[in-house]
């Protein structure tokens, strides 16, 4: 089954755009690198070279762990569109699966941070009236994100969905 917006509604399992792995790797590495450099510099300036070394090692290890699980994280992420609901599944240690019926969608936001823009990706945020709904699709190719948003909005409810 194919919706007018090009969205396949037969429950086909989709994975995120592979470029999201680079985005995640950069996002998880940069804070540790900055923290490591700053901590090591402060420790070195204040006369604690061993502490500087320790901070550097901790930062490098954390960054390496962050990068190494990116592939695993990507393999665990999948989503599928049915004729009545969107299903998401993700999580490495804690597996989360959610079902968001289209008639509950109140609003769909497209979010692109600087790293997303560099790699041509978008994040699709589906909002329902429940603050606890887990309905964010990261790593959607920017041109496809608009199509997907329009296709989903066409199937969303017409009242206040409450």
């Amino acid at each position: 089954m194919r919706d007018a917006g090009g969205l396949t509604l037969d429950g086909t399992v989709h994975q995120l755009d592979p470029r999201i792995r680079v985005v995640w790797a950069v996002s998880s590495t940069v804070p540790w690198v900055v923290l490591g450099i700053a901590g090591a510099a402060i420790a070195a300036v204040t006369g604690h070279p061993p502490l500087a070394g320790l901070i550097g090692v901790v930062a490098v290890v954390a960054a390496v762990i962050g990068v190494s699980i990116v592939g695993w994280r990507w393999r665990c992420w999948e989503w599928s569109a049915w004729d009545d609901a969107l299903e998401l599944q993700h999580g490495v240690l804690n597996r989360r699966a959610s079902v968001v019926p289209y008639h509950r969608i109140q609003q769909i936001d497209i979010h692109r941070d600087p790293i997303d823009r560099i790699f041509g990706l978008s994040k699709l945020i589906l909002r329902t009236a429940a603050a606890t709904s887990d309905a964010t699709l990261p790593g959607i190719a920017a041109p496809h994100a608009d199509e997907l948003r329009h296709a989903l909005l066409r199937r969303s409810g017409h009242d206040d969905a409450v």
Binding site: D84, A85, E87, G91, L93, N94, R95, R96, A97, S98, V99, V100, P101, H103, R104, Q106, Q107, R127, T128, A129, A130, A131, T132, S133, D134, A135, G157, D159, D160, A161, V162
Partner: protein, 530 residues
């Protein structure tokens, strides 16, 4: 003294003419009077110290001069000026389809609230409001941000009630026009809910506990709770049920460390620990009874068409309106003390102002007989299918995990005193076995069920709750599986509800039924074609 009759419509409000009106000018007085009172108290206390105090002459002369009052007096004048400006720049207009509020001194805000989208309209009157005859009107509109609530502080009581009644009636009319159904708004006789007061047994019980709380014309009394029942509810509140083990654990630790410091006075330390425990518990009970009676005095529930009304409060009077069709979830809460007494607490959750925090969306009936719950649910929700369903227990694997978690929790509390008091104290480690009956009780009280209209998720022992969620109000559903749960084929089910910061959940369901519920329940919430 002006009267503050929250139950009678005001003659001063001319109707939905769209004219911009200011709130009551006494709003300024209501804001300034508490500060003025504090200032007077400060001046009196300081003067008294000057008269009776043994200070040096230099200090006395400083305090006796009026200079020390300049700063608070300046603050008072400044506050008064700000309040006058705020009052002057705040206006409201009522149209047949909209409520418009303009406010802001430096940054002006123009807010239009479609009456058809209004979730709730409540009035709230505190002690000063009773004296001045003023009432706050709070209106919530459906939406997913925090800017969906308007507070009109303060209107004269009659106007507040008249505006509230008008928007609720218009909302019902607009909704009826949209859906083609009956208006079901406030009004006498036929517009009352289908089951309102239909159950004579409930009416009998109400009559036995009514304390003279009056309801407006066109409303049907459903429930009234007297001070004695409120006190019983306070004594058996979950805070007490949870507080007793906490106090017991504290007393155990105190006794253990005291005995370790000086082992020759064991009896004295044990007695001291017991005394601390008993006094702390009694103090907690006294505070709970006092605050519950003050906050919920005259508690009454009534129905007006499709609206549920709650009125309560001695010093602060609240008059809340919850539209039946906006109820997102009903939670029944009890604990071991309440189960013995056959009592429960009932929470109504609505979707108003979800970004503004759960306190704005939860309405509590503090205590009622557990045997009356099904009747009350039928009456409040106007649907016989609203009842607590029979619960399906979880699998035995879930019981094993419950045992492990609770034994570990008791062990964490007793291990330190046991080590401190070793070798005799090691007997305390045996208390960890209490985790087994605790887990058994938790396992028995947990489960899921459905009536077709309502899904129930239940869990907990010391704080046992049954969340009743209308299927047609489920926004989305989730399952989460930790690595430990995946090893034994379990998962946690969450149902996402509008307006709630905490989705109802049930731990350790078998993975397959949980996945089926996750897929099916949100889909069944789709509106049925006409």
């Amino acid at each position: 003294m002006p009267t503050a009759d929250l139950g009678s419509p005001g003659a001063a409000w001319p109707g939905p003419d769209g004219v911009a009106r200011r709130t009551s000018p006494l709003t300024v007085a209501a804001a300034v009077l508490p500060i003025l009172g504090g200032l007077v108290l400060f001046a009196m206390t300081t003067s008294l110290q000057v008269v009776v105090g043994p200070e040096s002459s230099a200090t006395s002369s400083t305090r006796s001069s009026p200079g020390f009052l300049l700063l608070p007096a300046g603050f008072l004048v400044l506050t008064g000026a700000v309040q006058v400006l705020r009052w002057f720049t705040t206006t409201y207009s009522v149209f047949p389809t909209e409520l418009v509020v303009d406010e802001g001194v430096l940054s002006r805000e123009h807010r239009v609230l479609p009456i058809a989208r209004i979730q709730q309209a409540d009035t709230h009157q505190n002690l000063l409001g009773k004296v001045l005859g003023l009432t706050e009107l709070k209106v919530d509109v459906a939406g997913s941000s925090g800017s969906t609530q308007v507070k009109l502080r303060l209107l004269d009581a009659g106007t507040a009630v008249a505006v509230r009644d008008y928007v609720l009636r218009r909302r019902a009319e607009l909704h009826a026009a949209e859906t083609g159904g009956p208006a079901g708004g406030r009004g006498p006789g036929p517009s009352a809910g289908p089951n309102a007061g239909a159950d004579p047994s409930i009416d009998d019980r109400i009559a036995a506990t009514t304390i003279g709380t009056t309801v407006s014309a066109g409303e049907t009394a459903v429930l009234a709770i007297g001070p004695a029942r409120l006190a019983l509810g306070a004594v058996t509140h979950s805070t007490i049920a949870l507080g007793i083990p906490v106090v017991a654990a504290g007393a155990l630790w105190f006794a253990a460390f005291s005995i370790a410091q000086s082992s020759d006075r064991v009896a004295g330390f044990v007695l001291a620990a017991l005394t601390i425990g008993v006094v702390a518990t009694l103090g907690l009970v006294a505070v709970m009874v006092l605050t519950t009676i003050l906050n919920h005095y005259g508690f009454a529930v009534s129905l007006a068409g499709e609206d549920i009304h709650l009125r309560y409060g001695l010093l602060e009077t609240r008059n809340l309106t919850v539209p039946r069709r906006r109820v997102q979830q009903i939670t029944l809460v009890d604990n071991p003390l309440r189960r013995v007494a056959g009592l429960v607490e009932l929470h109504l959750h609505t979707a108003a102002a979800p970004g503004a925090g759960e306190t704005t969306t939860k309405f509590t009936i503090p205590v009622l007989a557990a045997a009356d719950v099904d009747d009350l649910l039928h009456t409040l929700m106007g649907d016989d299918r609203w009842r607590v369903p029979t619960l399906t227990p979880r699998s035995s694997v879930a019981r094993h995990r419950a045992v492990a978690r609770r034994v570990a929790a008791v062990l964490a509390i007793t291990i330190v005193p046991a080590i401190v008091l070793r070798p005799v104290g090691l007997i305390l480690v045996a208390l960890a076995l209490l985790g087994i009956p605790w887990a058994d009780a938790a396992h028995r009280s947990a489960g899921r069920g459905t009536t077709g209209t309502v899904v129930a998720l239940a869990h907990g022992v010391l704080h046992h709750r049954v969340d009743l969620v209308p299927v047609d109000r489920i926004q989305s559903a989730r399952t989460t599986r930790s690595i430990f749960q995946r090893r034994v084929g379990l998962s946690t089910l969450h149902l996402d509800i509008a307006g709630s910061a905490h989705a109802p959940y049930l731990w350790d369901l078998d993975a397959d039924p949980a996945a089926t519920l996750r897929r099916d329940l949100p889909r069944r919430s789709a509106p049925r074609p006409a």
